[in-house]
């Protein structure tokens, strides 16, 4: 026996022989090792004790003990988003699983590949309302790509292989494997399949060539083109191809919240994020374009508002997505292309290069002139002379201090939108946010996952005083595993986005959105063994950030006391057309 850096005793002599009879618990652990898993985020409990006992005996992967199962899934999610690999979480039955559901649903909405392993009561006790029993497969069914209940140890290894296969191929998503406790004790010969073939599941890769030809033609005929890309480009590792195509064509490009970083934000052809809090120029270009290329995006309600409104403008739409059900779900499209975005973009680039037709240069120049006029409105302007710290200012300085090179996670609300607007992401997978589900509490555990995946990286968690409290217990995990995340807490004493809606649409009646009795975050951070800072003046923002980021090996909790009345602009009111934005200057 030896002990590793964390003081965990390891049995070096433990070895497996292929085909040897192993228990379900040994098989579970062995499968994860054979799958190449590096990190497992989890929390033990009765139903998974056999599995934990095997984890104790192995050193193929590292287990990260979180303080709440929700955080285990968010951390695995942060790991997955930042690496492109499958994130793995392990939880016990009953409350372990129900706590994990928020994390699973978060990953499902953003199509993040996860394998979540949950313990279950023994097969004989299922349905008996046993201690810590819930119908895990039933509870998670609507928020997983697929789930399994393994009732026979002989099916365990194949099921785990299938779970990884399903999670990581096609449109990715979380997969749950629920394992009853007796199955973890039963023995069978262990063989990890190298691959699995499922007659009912075949992910499409190549797009239809005829459709791609039509798309190339349509793009070259455009007079007011627009390229709109989403999270699918990040997930499909197709940022390179997207950037190449956009530059080749010279067309404007916008990214959705999920797609930030897929096209470099500092590039002049980037018109900013679009949607409810998108830039004036991005939304106006969406509204006025004649040909729209949508890549790995899903026209969701926070992006285009009401489909009926959006459809009133005549534009031809090309839609590339790996999931056929995303196409024609909310808007009708002229050229649907189902396939892997990277493979389709490769073909599209080839066709555009080879085509004898060229873009209509005068029309394009006219279009850019129009876009630049919209840009001149400077819709993200804010009061830079303010004596109270403006949240936007903090993000701008954060971008400067980190040279635009940090990995940024967020929680949900105003701070998330400001982060999206003001931190200019030039690379994919650097921006880690809960877009679809909008899960408060996501930021800190996700940042842990990112930091553990990239130990040398600069990781910032941009959050607010309300969100951070939803998973603040993870400060303890951060200490245990030495994850030097920098927490940027934009503290305006309000659930800012709720307050903003109440100001705009509920006659300034701030029902329950004020955060009273806040903890002293500096002392709280210190109590958890970290460094705490409170920053109250604009002049202190930059020096404090420099000081914090210089502390390479420490978690620093930076509590920025920001302007309570600041709102996120532009804003498209719910249900309005995306061209109908409320701008800061209009108020």
């Amino acid at each position: 026996m030896t002990s590793d850096a964390l003081g965990i005793m390891i049995n070096d002599s433990f070895e497996w022989v292929a085909g040897m009879e192993l228990t379900g618990a040994e098989i579970t652990v062995r499968c994860l090792v054979d799958e190449g898993v590096e990190l497992v985020f989890g929390y033990p409990g009765g139903a998974v004790l056999n599995i934990y006992d095997e984890i104790f005996k192995q050193k193929g992967f590292k287990h990260i003990l979180v303080r709440h199962e929700q955080a285990a899934v968010h951390a695995a999610d942060g790991y997955a988003r930042s690496t492109g690999k499958v994130g793995v979480a392990l939880v016990t039955s009953g409350p372990g699983l129900t706590n994990a559901v928020t994390g699973i649903a978060t990953a499902y909405m953003d199509s993040i590949p996860l394998v979540v392993i949950s313990g279950q009561v023994p097969t004989g006790a299922i349905g008996m309302d046993a201690f810590q029993e819930v119908d895990s497969v039933g509870i998670t069914r609507p928020c997983v790509k697929h789930n399994f209940l393994v009732k026979d140890v002989r099916e365990l290894a194949t099921t785990i292989k299938k779970a990884f296969h399903i999670a990581s191929t096609g449109r990715p998503g979380p997969v749950l494997v629920d394992i009853p406790k007796d199955v973890t004790a039963h023995k069978t010969a262990y063989v990890y399949p190298e691959s699995v073939v499922m007659r009912s599941y075949n992910a499409v890769v190549k797009g239809h060539s005829g459709q791609i030809k039509k798309a190339a033609q349509m793009l070259l005929e455009a007079r007011r083109p627009m390229i709109y890309s989403g999270g699918g480009v990040v997930l499909g590792n197709a940022a390179k191809q997207l950037t190449e195509l956009v530059r080749l064509l010279g067309y404007p490009c916008t990214n959705t919240l999920m797609g930030l970083g897929a096209y470099p934000a500092t590039d002049p052809q980037f018109v900013g994020m679009l949607g409810m809090h998108g830039t004036y120029e991005a939304n106006m270009a969406m509204h006025n374009c004649d040909v729209l290329l949508a890549v790995g995006a899903r026209f969701d309600d926070r992006v285009i508002g009401m489909p009926a409104q959006f459809a009133r403008d005549s534009r031809r739409i090309i839609h590339i997505d790996i999931d056929p059900s995303t196409i024609a779900k909310r808007v009708k499209v002229d050229v649907p292309i189902v396939g892997d975005v990277g493979a389709v973009l490769d073909e599209l680039i080839k066709l555009v290069r080879a085509s004898r037709e060229r873009m209509d240069e005068p029309a394009l120049a006219e279009w850019w002139k129009q876009i630049n006029e919209w840009r001149a409105r400077d819709c993200l302007n804010y009061d830079r002379a303010s004596e109270i710290i403006k949240p936007q200012y903090v993000i701008e300085k954060l971008w400067e201090v980190t040279n635009g090179d940090a990995w940024v996670t967020t929680d949900v609300g105003q701070h998330q939108m400001w982060a999206a607007q003001f931190y200019k992401f030039d690379q994919p997978r650097r921006w880690i946010t809960s877009g679809g589900l909008g899960t408060m509490g996501f930021g800190l555990p996700a940042a842990m996952g990112v930091q553990l995946a990239h130990p040398e990286a600069t990781v910032a968690c941009i959050t607010g005083e309300s969100s951070i409290q939803m998973c603040i217990q993870e400060l303890s995990t951060c200490l245990q595993y030495r994850t030097p995340v920098k927490v940027i807490n934009l503290n305006n004493r309000y659930m800012g986005m709720v307050r903003q809606w109440q100001e705009f649409f509920y006659g300034n009646r701030y029902a329950e959105s004020y955060m009273d009795s806040l903890p002293d975050f500096v002392r709280l951070a210190e109590a958890y063994g970290h460094v705490g800072m409170r920053i109250e003046k604009p002049a202190d923002v930059e020096p404090a950030l420099r000081e914090a980021f210089a502390l390479k090996d420490r978690l620093v909790f930076m509590d920025f006391i920001t302007d309570q009345s600041e709102n996120v602009f532009p804003m498209v009111p719910n249900g309005a057309d995306i061209s109908e934005m409320i701008l800061a200057e209009e108020l």
Binding site: R141, H146, L149, R199, S200, S325, K329
Partner: protein, 163 residues
């Protein structure tokens, strides 16, 4: 529009609830759903009768296809097809009604499969509209109990749903 969708799915525990859950989660209509294993016991065949605009039906088919357990789908309404439903009706049958009930069953090509002094149980097969017509045709007071299977469908001629 009414659509009748046939699908083959893995005969696994929970497969049915994935389909039923999809319809309720996404707010799709479901008029009837029948399911049973096929000649290959690893596969179940399901027939779903639903209603919706063309866009909704397109989404239903795509969403069903996305379910991992679903192997193959065919919208039977896209071409010519046959659909049949089975109904068992228990009716009051005594006095002068007894003869009348027998006659009605004969007209609709139903079979009386259980008889007591006061009741008949009639088995009736056909498209749903025929079963509706039978219910319409007999005295509602005479109906003691009905049970219907929901529609099963199959394509005509060479239209085959098989893997």
């Amino acid at each position: 529009m009414r659509h009748i969708i046939s699908l083959l799915m893995e005969n696994e525990a929970g497969a049915l609830s994935r389909v039923a859950g999809l319809f309720s989660a996404r707010g799709y209509n479901i008029e009837s759903l029948t399911v049973a294993p096929t000649e290959d016991i690893t596969l179940s065949r399901m027939t779903i009768v639903t209603r919706g605009s063309e866009e909704v039906i397109e989404q239903i088919v795509k969403q069903l296809n996305k379910l991992i357990d679903v192997v193959k789908i065919l919208d039977l309404s896209d071409g010519s097809h046959i659909e049949r439903e089975l109904m068992l009706v228990k009716v009051r049958a005594f006095g002068k009604d007894r003869e009348e009930m027998k006659r009605m069953a004969d007209i609709f090509r139903g079979r009386i499969i259980d008889v007591t002094e006061k009741t008949y149980t009639i088995e009736l097969t056909g498209p749903g509209t025929k079963l509706d017509a039978f219910i319409e045709a007999i005295d509602p007071v005479a109906i003691l109990e009905t049970v219907r299977t929901g529609a099963s469908g199959i394509g005509r001629g060479e239209r085959i749903l098989k893997i």
